[in-house]
C-alpha cells in the first residue's frame, strides 16, 4: 500500500460525488455530462491502480472505458438532436 492507492481512492470518491448529479440532474443533458465525468474519473483511478499493482491489464480496461464513454456521449447527443 503506497500513496497511489490513496490517490485512486480519492478519485473514486469524487466519482461517487458526481453520481449525486446523475441521480438529481433535472434534464437528460445534466445526467449525460455527469456520467461522462464519472467515466473519466474511474479511468484515472484505473490508471493509478495499474501503476500501484504493476499489472498492465488495467490499462487496457481504462482505454476501452475511455472509448466507450466517448461513443456513448456522442450517441446521446445525436439522439437528442433527433438525427439517430
Amino acid at each position: 500500500m503506497t500513496e497511489l492507492t490513496v490517490f485512486a481512492a480519492i478519485y473514486v470518491l469524487l466519482a461517487l460525488l458526481c453520481m449525486i448529479r446523475v441521480a438529481k440532474g433535472p434534464s437528460v443533458v445534466d445526467r449525460a455530462v455527469a456520467a461522462d465525468s464519472v467515466d473519466i474519473l474511474t479511468d484515472v483511478a484505473l490508471v493509478l491502480f495499474a501503476l500501484e499493482s504493476g499489472r498492465g491489464i488495467y490499462l487496457d480496461i481504462a482505454l476501452v472505458t475511455a472509448i466507450l464513454g466517448f461513443m456513448s456521449m456522442v450517441c446521446v447527443a445525436r439522439y437528442l438532436e433527433g438525427r439517430l
Binding site: E3, L4, F7, I10, Y11, L14, L17, C18, I20, R21, S27, V28, V29, D30, A32, V33, A34, D36, S37, I40, L41, D43, V44, V47, L48, A50, L51, G54, G56, L59, D60, A62, L63, A66, I67, F70, M73, V74, V76, A77, R78, L80, E81, G82
Partner: protein
Amino acid sequence: MILRYVSDAFVVIGIFFAFAGTVGLLRMPDAFCRMQSSTNISTLGLYGAVIGGLVKAISMIVEGYELGWTMLIKIALIGLFSILANPIGGHSIAKAAYKHGVRPEKEFVCDAYGEDEFDD
C-alpha cells in the same frame, strides 16, 4: 526517488482540479455551466494523473522493471485519445442541448445562437 515525489506532485495537482470540477458540477445553476465545470475534470483532472503516471512509469524503467515500457506507452495512448475525443463530445452535447430546448432559469446575458436561428 526524486521522480516519485515529482509524480506525486502531478497527481495532487490533478486531484485539486478534479475536486474543483466536481464541486462546480454540483453547484453550478444550469446545464451549460455544468458542462464548463466538467471540462475542468476532463482536462487537468485527467492530465495531472496521466502526467504523474508517465513520470511514475519512467521511474519504474529507471529501477529496471521491463513492465515500465508497456505502462508508458499505454498511458500515453490514453492521454492522446482523451485529448482528441473529449472536445468532440463536449461540442456535440452542447449543440444537442441547445437544440433539444435546454435553457437556463436565469436568461443568458446575450444569445447570438438563438438570434440567427438556422437548421442544417
